[in-house]
Every structure is written in C-alpha cells, then in structure tokens.
C-alpha cells in the first residue's frame, strides 16, 4: 500500500459517510412521522461526523493544506470516490430505508474490522466510535425492513421493489479494485470476500424475517470508487457546494 493509496482509503471512507449523510439530512422536516425525522437526522448527523473525522485525518496526512471543508466543498464529482448506492436519490421512505439497510450492513462490518486493525491507530479510533453508531443505524433500518416487508400488501410490494431496484448497487461493495487490494494486503482494509459473506448472512436473515425475497445476483453497477458516478452526484454536489464556491474567500 502506497502512501497515496492509504490517503485514498481514508478519503473514500469520508466520501461514503458524507454523501449518505447529505442525502439523509434532506428528510429532516419531511418524514412520515415526527419520530422518523428525528431518527433519520440522528443518523445523518452521525455520518456527517464520521466524514469530518476522516477528512480531518486525511488533511493532516496530505501536504496540500486542504482542510475538511476544502475536501468536502472544493472537490468535483470525479474526485469523490463514494459507492454509487449512497448517491442514489432518497425516493420514498422505503427506498431510503433499503439504501440505509444495504449500506449499514456493509459499513458495520467494515468499521468493526477497521476498529480492530493495527496498521492505522487513528483510523481505528474513528472506527471504534462509528461502530456503535452503525449498530444503531443497522438496527433502525432492519426494523423498518421487517415492518414494511411484513406490514401491509402495499408496503410489502413497495419495499420489495426498492430492494429489487437498489440491489444492483450492492455488488460494488465487494468488488475490490487495486486500492482495496493493497489496503487488504497491508491489513488496513478487510478482505472483501469475507465481507461479502457476512453481509449476505445479515441481509438474508433480515429479508427472510420480513417475508421479502432476496434478488438474484445479476449485473452489478460499478464506478463510484473510480470517480465514475451516476448522474445524481453532480447535482447533489452543486447544491451542497454552492456557497463556498460562490464566496471562495469567505469563512463561515
């Protein structure tokens, strides 16, 4: 693992958290019940906090003098390396929950590994805090999967459709590129094949309880980790970055 790859790994962790946190925060004020406005905002706050921790760490490691905000607001979509799933639009509540469910199952395992690895103590420190947060995110999403799946006919059909639609974005989690491979070889990142098994086990158990069907593994979308995104990310960043880019000399 080169120093550049090490840095890239940290930025990818930050990008996943920020992009999903930004998406989720749009539910604040618009949830199906007030309790969910609060729960989804809590989750978004955790994710934004994780992103800030990773960006601050990255900024201390790189020599370009970019702080967390320059990393968040002055990189283009090509430079963001989040998984494609996380930039997908919120859709309806079921779409949002399924996206959260798929990612949380993955991120929980990933943070658990990151908190235990001995290669980068600072990453381990951030991950140790994030594991506790992800445990809650996962439980919250999994509970909703069960309620929606085993609720009404309408909710069952809707959430099954969300699962079928978003399934093709889950393969990217386990599709190792050379950065993932180098990170795994150095012991910083988990073996993605091991992750795949753990993810499948937790997702399948929950779907079964929810009376939902696990889709067949067909063609999987990819590209986010290489900066080749869906059409959605550029719009998201345009909105998110508008003020710092309009007033580049200002501090807030």
């Amino acid at each position: 693992m080169t120093e550049g790859q090490h840095l890239q790994i940290i930025l990818r962790l930050g990008d996943d958290a920020l992009v999903l946190g930004q998406r989720l925060s749009a539910w604040c004020g618009h949830g199906p019940i007030l309790e969910e406005d609060i729960a989804l905002s809590n989750t978004a706050l955790d994710l934004i906090g994780q992103a800030r921790n990773f960006y601050t760490l990255a900024s201390s490691r790189e020599d370009q003098g970019r702080d967390e905000d320059q990393l968040a607001f002055f990189r283009t979509d090509k430079e963001f390396q989040n998984h494609l799933l996380l930039e997908q639009p919120n859709g309806h509540f079921g779409d949002t929950i399924v996206r959260q469910f798929f990612f949380s199952a993955f991120a929980l395992e990933r943070y658990a590994f990151l908190s235990r690895q001995l290669v980068d103590a600072e990453v381990a420190g951030i991950a140790a805090k994030a594991v506790k947060e992800l445990q809650y995110h996962w439980e919250h999403a999994a509970q909703w999967i069960v309620r929606l799946g085993d609720g009404t006919t309408e909710s069952h059909e809707k959430v099954q459709a969300s699962i079928d639609h978003l399934w093709s974005y889950t393969g990217e989690f386990f599709n190792a590129d050379e950065v993932d491979a180098a990170g795994a070889e150095a012991g910083l990142l988990p073996d993605l094949e091991v992750m795949r098994k753990a993810w499948n086990a937790s997702v399948e158990a929950c779907l079964a309880q929810a009376t939902l069907t696990r889709p067949e593994d067909g063609w999987m979308q990819r590209g986010g980790k290489q900066g080749i995104h869906s059409e959605h990310l550029s719009y998201m960043l345009a909105e998110m970055q508008v003020l710092p880019r309009t007033y580049p000399d200002a501090t807030w």
Partner: protein, 320 residues
C-alpha cells in the same frame, strides 16, 4: 353553571392563584382545557412548520460544522414538537386530530414561518431573532399553571437559548467577514426584524384572549411588555454586530429606561395570518405532502404491530 361547578371553579381559581400546578387528572374548567389545547397544539405546529424554513438550508450549509449544527438544531425543533404534542395529548386530544387541524388550516402556527429564508444569513437571523423572540415568549411558560406544559417548556427553553446563541454566532461570523457576507447579514436583519417583533402578537389593546390567560397563569406578561423586553435586549446585540436595525424611530428613552421604536405594520401581520404571507401555501403543502406520502409507512407499522400482538396473544392462549 350548576352550584357544584361554581364551587369547583372557585376552588380551581384559588388553587391557580396560589401558583399550584394543575395536572391532567385534576378538574379544570372547559375553557381552560380548550385554551390550553389551542395554545399548546399551535405551539407544537409552530415547531414542526418551523423546521421547514431552516431545513431549506441544511443541504447548502457552507461548512460541515455549520451543516451539523443546523441539522441538530432543526432536529431539536422536531423534538420540541414531540414534547408539545405529548403535553397536549394529556388534555384529551390525539396527535392525529391535531395534525388534521393543521393540515385543513383549522389550526394556526406561528406566522413567522411564512417568511422565506433567502440566504445563509437567514440561518443566523432566524436563530438570533426568531428563537430569541420565542424564548422571551416561552420562558414565562415554564411557570405556566398546567404542569405538563410547564415541564415541556423547561426542556424546550434550554435548547432554544442554545439556538439563539448559535444564530448570533452565525451573524457574528458574517458581520466580521467579507463585505458580501456583511451585506448578507444586514439584509437578513432588514427582512427579519419587523416580523420578529410581530411574533409577540397584537398590541395589548387588541389582544382578545390575554386577560383570561393571565388570570389562569398561562400568560404572565402582556404582548407589549415582552416585545419591549425583546427590543431592549436585541438593540445592544445588533450594535455589537455592527448592524443597523431597520427602524428610523428606534432610540433610547432615558425617562422610560427603554428603547422607543416605530409602529408595526399590522396590516401585513393580519395578512400573513390570513394566508397571504410569501410562503403560507408552500409551508402547509410541504407538511401535507410529508403526511400523505408517509401514510403507507404508518399503515405498515400499525399492521405489523397488530400482527405481532395477535401472534403474542395466540402464543399465550396455546401456552395456557
């Protein structure tokens, strides 16, 4: 009114006059209950409608720190809504009924939220002025005669004063920033000043419910008293920011020991209440949409809970 009721009411009045708390199971006059339901539900609605103008800037907050602070603030407002709906429920009304009244336009919410948030500086001005005015109105409610409301307000006020300081901090950063930022801050103050003064309601002479609410220890200070206090508190803060309050008649009155200020445009106030504010339609439409879009989710949660209950009942029957 029967002699028994007259007796009860006299005892109630005496009890309240002694600064004692009324609790949900205590006897209370019908009008007291109705007044509280109206006021608390209106307050709850204001909290959740109030999430919208500030929520408008979460996605565009100019730094990650500001994004987190703003999101946490708007989330707090959801929490305030929850405490207040719960307090109102102790009076025998359900959250669903209250929400229906909001969605059909039968219930009101604070008119201030019918103004648009046009720039980032509005996040400062709203926190500083709107949360600031809310605190002025709400601190006395911590001693309100109705226990559940008073206790909810203690929690709410703690968070509101935090919001007010955060809003002031946003303003301070802008006021000390680039010329564009300072202009943004001044513009926000220009737009939010008068609507904030209107948050205290009509002048005392035109305030219909006030006298009875004062007698019941629901209201402690008159609209004009609270408004004056707010002006007196805020003027020095504006000076500290180096911003100008948009009122040529504003000046210190040595004899009164208060600031004098100009006349409020009540015609605008009543028009915004009537539905003619810049954002009345959007705000209500956003609440209705969230509620309608969420119907299938709430139905699913209920259906699931029913199934679980039935399963449990089934299990106990078989075990027995």
């Amino acid at each position: 009114m029967s002699p028994v009721e007259m007796n009860l009411e006299a005892r109630f009045d005496a009890y309240v006059a002694e600064e004692k708390k009324i609790e949900p199971k205590d006897w209370m006059p019908d009008a007291y209950r109705k007044t509280l339901i109206r006021q608390i539900s209106q307050h709850a609605h204001s909290e959740i409608v109030g999430m919208l103008p500030e929520g408008n800037w979460i996605s565009r907050a100019p730094s990650l720190k500001r994004k987190a602070i703003l999101l946490a603030k708007v989330q707090d407002e959801a929490g305030h809504g929850l405490y207040l709906y719960s307090a109102a429920e102790t009076l025998g009304v359900t959250r669903d009924q209250m929400l229906d009244d909001l969605h059909t336009g039968k219930a009101k919410y604070s008119s201030i939220f019918n103004y648009p948030t046009l720039t980032w500086a509005d996040m400062g001005a709203v926190g500083w002025l709107v949360d600031g005015a809310a605190i002025m109105n709400q601190v006395p409610l911590c001693k309100c005669s109705y226990g559940p409301y008073a206790r909810a307000m203690v929690r709410v006020c703690k968070e509101e004063s935090f919001h007010q300081r955060q809003g002031f901090q946003v303003m301070l950063n802008l006021a000390q920033g680039t010329p564009e930022q300072k202009a943004m801050a001044q513009d926000a103050l220009n737009r939010w000043w008068w609507p904030s003064l209107m948050m205290f309601g009509p002048n005392d002479a035109d305030s219909p419910h006030s006298a009875q609410s004062m007698k019941w220890n629901i209201k402690r200070f008159s609209n004009d008293e609270l408004r004056q206090r707010f002006v007196d508190m805020t003027v020095p803060q504006a000076e500290l920011l180096g911003l100008t309050i948009p009122d040529p008649d504003l000046k210190w009155n040595e004899a009164r020991g208060h600031y004098d200020f100009g006349d409020i445009q009540w015609e605008e106030f009543y028009n915004v209440i009537k539905g003619n504010g810049p954002c009345n339609k959007e705000r209500l439409a956003a609440r209705v949409k969230a509620h309608e879009d969420g119907a299938w989710v709430r139905e699913a949660a209920n259906a699931y809970a029913q199934k679980q209950k039935a399963k449990k009942a089934d299990a106990t029957t078989h075990a027995a």
